[in-house]
């Protein structure tokens, strides 16, 4: 298994597990208007990996992510959770978190109230949740802003709140759909570093949807390149040393070469989808 990116001691045991967190088998999705968004997509997500879904716009990345999260149903094919207990809806309740492209915060709640939401829905009293919430807010550097309202925060800070809300329940699987696409380059790099750090600290498995070759090459332990019309997996690019990435890595020859390789694969994926034009 991918023990190459040796994680912190906390998570070694978890990552040694050979069973995938989630497997997609020949999943297709046809929308009611006839759009074939996914066609026979198969994917194994290994425990503890940082997987990026990279592909051109409209290739079905969001659709795939939403199906995994149980927010949409597949038209055919199966989704399986080999290492989780699943509930009546076929979902491992409480094990999945989602970070949307927009922060998706409740404007009438404070930062604390927003991060408290997953616990509140589980009927956990505020008193008992407080420590964990404050701890998570500290992890994303927002412990001083617990009582602030979302409108008082910058775009990057709102995204941090969204990440904190996703992590506060200690999920097994974190799904992120272009979470930083709307942010400026500096904030995005900062948040990329944060996400990597949180991934190492918590041992969470991440599926990260992005348009950006550079972002995926920086973050991932594996990149899955998708192609459009119909949406399916085009190629996989396993990467090494996902635990060594930092500011230096950004300027390294290795990173440049990786970007080039991923970029070329993406070009091929785009070309394969439009043979006519």
């Amino acid at each position: 298994m991918n023990i190459m990116h040796a994680p912190g001691e906390l998570v070694v045991g978890m990552r040694a597990s050979a069973r995938p967190v989630v497997t997609m088998r020949e999943v297709s999705k046809v929308f009611s208007n006839g759009t074939l968004a996914l066609s026979d997509m198969s994917l194994d997500v290994k425990n503890g990996e940082f997987l990026s879904l990279l592909g051109p716009s409209g290739c079905g990345k969001s659709t795939a992510l939403r199906i995994i999260a149980g927010l949409g149903v597949a038209s055919s094919g199966t989704i399986d959770w080999p290492s989780s207990r699943i509930n009546s809806k076929g979902l491992p309740q409480g094990d999945i978190s989602f970070v949307f492209q927009e922060p998706t915060l409740m404007p009438w709640q404070t930062v604390f109230g927003n991060v408290y939401l997953p616990f509140r829905l589980r009927h956990l009293p505020k008193r008992q949740a407080r420590d964990q919430i404050m701890e998570t807010l500290a992890m994303v550097g927002l412990e001083d802003f617990a009582e602030a309202y979302p409108r008082e925060l910058s775009g990057g800070m709102k995204m941090r709140v969204s990440i904190a809300r996703a992590l506060v329940t200690k999920p097994k699987l974190l799904l992120m759909d272009e979470p930083f696409a709307a942010l400026d380059e500096i904030t995005r790099q900062k948040l990329n570093d944060d996400v990597l750090r949180l991934w190492r600290q918590t041992g969470v498995t991440v599926i990260f949807v992005t348009h950006s070759v550079y972002e995926s090459a920086y973050l991932s332990s594996r990149i899955v390149v998708m192609k459009a019309r119909p949406g399916q997996v085009f190629a996989e690019v396993p990467l090494e040393r996902a635990d060594m990435r930092d500011g230096y890595y950004r300027t390294s020859e290795e990173y440049r070469a990786t970007c080039e390789r991923v970029s070329r694969t993406l070009q091929e994926a785009i070309a394969s989808a439009e043979p006519v034009s």
């Binding site: 927010l71 949307f100 998706t104 550097g141």
Partner: protein, 289 residues
């Protein structure tokens, strides 16, 4: 690392908050004073103009009484006007309270399913577009007492803006947030309580403000239509009565009480809206760039 992060992202925020703090405070004291004094001054000038017009043209009080004559009538007739004011206020607020309960309740019910909404929609539209004055005689026949009839009329009029705003609000919830609630396995009840109702608050407040104003109007119009006298009559009846008797100062006094009541309702509903929205909604927060 997280400390450094905070510096970059929030660093611009904290010092500016502190640096700005004293300046707006100073500016706002004089601004507040102006905000109160300018409207008061204008009101006073209008009264003065009214008084001067009446005095200079020797207008008889049965055509247009001066402000002092009206004030006189207000004091002298307080014995009849006060109970009437009380009755109108009571009907208006009871109607508004019922309309709030009914409007919010029905809105919650309507948005449960598209079929329910589809089934009840025609009734809502028919009741809403029918002029209430036209229904009032019928209600007067059916209702056990005039008071109840007035209450029903005021309720019907105040009910629809609250209902339609509330339906709109409950349906305008950010769908990403709905997805999020789904993802966390929130029950229908939790989604309503923690997401839909709070998100609909601004819409509710709009409905409340419109409904409050309309409840008063309907209470008055319905009493005009009822036209019956009695110990329990409201301001509208006193107004008509003064007209028959050509007691124009008293008519003005009743009119002033009505508009004061309207202003009070407007102020109250605006204050409630401000209270609940001031921390987070764009309509109520002070803009600071």
């Amino acid at each position: 690392m997280s400390g450094g992060v905070r510096m970059t992202i929030a660093g611009g925020n904290i010092p500016s908050r502190q640096a700005d703090a004293p300046a707006p405070a100073r500016a706002s004291t004089s601004q507040k004073l102006l905000r109160v004094s300018v409207p008061l001054l204008m009101l006073f000038l209008a009264l003065l103009a009214w008084d001067l017009y009446v005095r200079l043209n020797d207008v008889p009080p049965y055509i247009l009484p001066g402000p002092l004559t009206v004030a006189d009538a207000l004091l002298n007739d307080w014995g009849t006007l006060w109970p009437a004011l009380f009755v109108t206020t009571k009907i208006t607020f009871m109607a508004l309270a019922l309309a709030l309960l009914g409007g919010v309740g029905l809105a919650v019910f309507l948005v449960q399913s598209r079929w329910v909404e589809l089934a009840f929609y025609p009734f809502a539209v028919i009741l809403q577009v029918t002029p209430i004055v036209a229904v009032a005689p019928l209600i007067l026949i059916y209702a056990p007492t005039t008071q109840v009839a007035l209450l029903i009329c005021a309720f019907l009029v105040a009910f629809f803006p609250i209902l339609s705003n509330m339906v709109q609000g409950l349906k305008s919830v950010d769908h990403h947030l709905l997805n999020l609630f789904d993802l966390y396995g929130a029950s229908r009840w939790q989604t309503l309580l923690y997401l839909k109702l709070p998100a609909a608050q601004p819409y509710f407040m709009t409905g409340l403000r419109i409904g409050g104003g309309l409840a008063l109007i309907a209470a008055v119009v319905a009493e005009f239509a009822a036209g019956s006298a009695g110990a329990n009559s409201g301001l509208a009846f006193r107004l008509l009565e003064a007209q028959y008797r050509l007691n124009i100062p008293r008519l003005f006094a009743a009119l002033i009480l009505l508009s004061l009541l309207g202003v009070a309702i407007f102020a109250l509903t605006s204050f409630i809206a401000w209270l609940s929205l001031r921390r987070w909604h764009e309509s109520s927060v002070r803009r600071e760039n």
